[in-house]
Amino acid sequence: MTKKLRTPASVIVTLLLLLPMIVGAQSVPIQSGMGNEDTGAPKLSLDEPLPGEKIIDKLKLDGKTQAPEVRLLFMDASREAAPIGQKMLELRQRLINVELQKKPEEIAPAVEAYKAAAAEMAALEARTFAKIYALLKPNQQQNAAQAFAIMGGMFQPSAPRGGGGGRGAQRGGGQ
């Protein structure tokens, strides 16, 4: 691979050409993720259950009493997680930018800030899990560890998966 330098003018033109696309993308409204909007993105795939539903299945929760309550807990947690997830996303952005700018002195503070945000998110997951655990019957508790493993990162914003998998803002939150 050889390095090809472009003239500053051509680069600026490229950037300017890209700007409407970027600005346009920024104005994309928050979508439901339920498949009614045609954003041009891959279609929603239902081949893999949402993490929240996986947890409900894993714990063999009662569909009439426990599952609805757990879904509500996930929705509450999703709402609470939104600003934390946004912060984590921005910190990932900051990290890649300082890597690209070759500013090693700025990496450690960014990692520290990410660590603090990740602790907030993990604490939220832990609180949610504790509430779920309190609802479990003794025979359901045996799968609790596996269920908690699924919860890792489930309230963070994520990209649609391969296979056309839009998962929504939270991987399992908004059931």
């Binding site: 691979m1 660590k115 993990a122 560890a145 908690f148």
Partner: protein, 172 residues
């Protein structure tokens, strides 16, 4: 293939593009079907692996694909200790809750997990930066490909066997 050294101006531009490109993502992704930054799929619902997503998104040459694969293979190996610590520290949180431990113990487990999560994130972002600096200037202006790659990186090294698989819902 030699690693090109980017002039300061190019790095600045690349950084600006990455920032601009990525900064749209939280809104674009919020609905799940997102505004063009999502994980692409092929016709008939064919699911691309991570390397295919990068290769298609950035239109990588054969040599570039090989280089990118090498960078990610190395990073996947380097991620092994963090991956293990991440899994065990997360399990420790669950175990502390199940054992009805006090807040101090749960808080300590949470902090340890967060430390590992930050280490994994640092590795993911460093690796993506490495990949981007190996691309040609015109490839680096592809905002949609950068967004896809940015989101695809989260959790890329969680599987202990391979990173080049169809992205799934595993995360941390």
């Amino acid at each position: 293939m030699t690693r090109p050294l980017l002039p300061r101006r190019s790095i600045g531009l690349l950084t600006a593009l990455v920032f601009l490109g990525i900064s749209v993502s939280p809104h674009a992704q919020r609905g799940g079907r997102g505004g063009g930054g999502g994980t692409p799929t092929g016709e008939g619902g064919y699911q691309y692996s991570r390397l295919e997503i990068l290769a298609n998104g950035f239109n990588l040459t054969k040599d570039q694909k090989k280089t990118v694969k090498g960078l990610l293979d190395d990073a996947h190996k380097a991620a092994a200790p963090t991956r293990e610590a991440l899994a065990s520290s997360h399990a420790a949180i669950g175990a502390a809750i199940a054992a009805n431990k006090g807040p101090a113990e749960i808080d300590a487990a949470v902090k340890e997990y967060a430390k590992q999560a930050a280490a994994m994130t640092e590795l993911e972002m460093k690796t993506l930066a490495d990949v981007l600096t190996h691309l040609e200037p015109d490839q680096r202006t592809n905002g949609a490909a950068i967004r896809s790659a940015f989101f695809m990186m989260r959790g890329i090294f969680l599987d202990d066997k391979k990173w080049d698989a169809v992205p799934d819902s595993r995360s941390y």
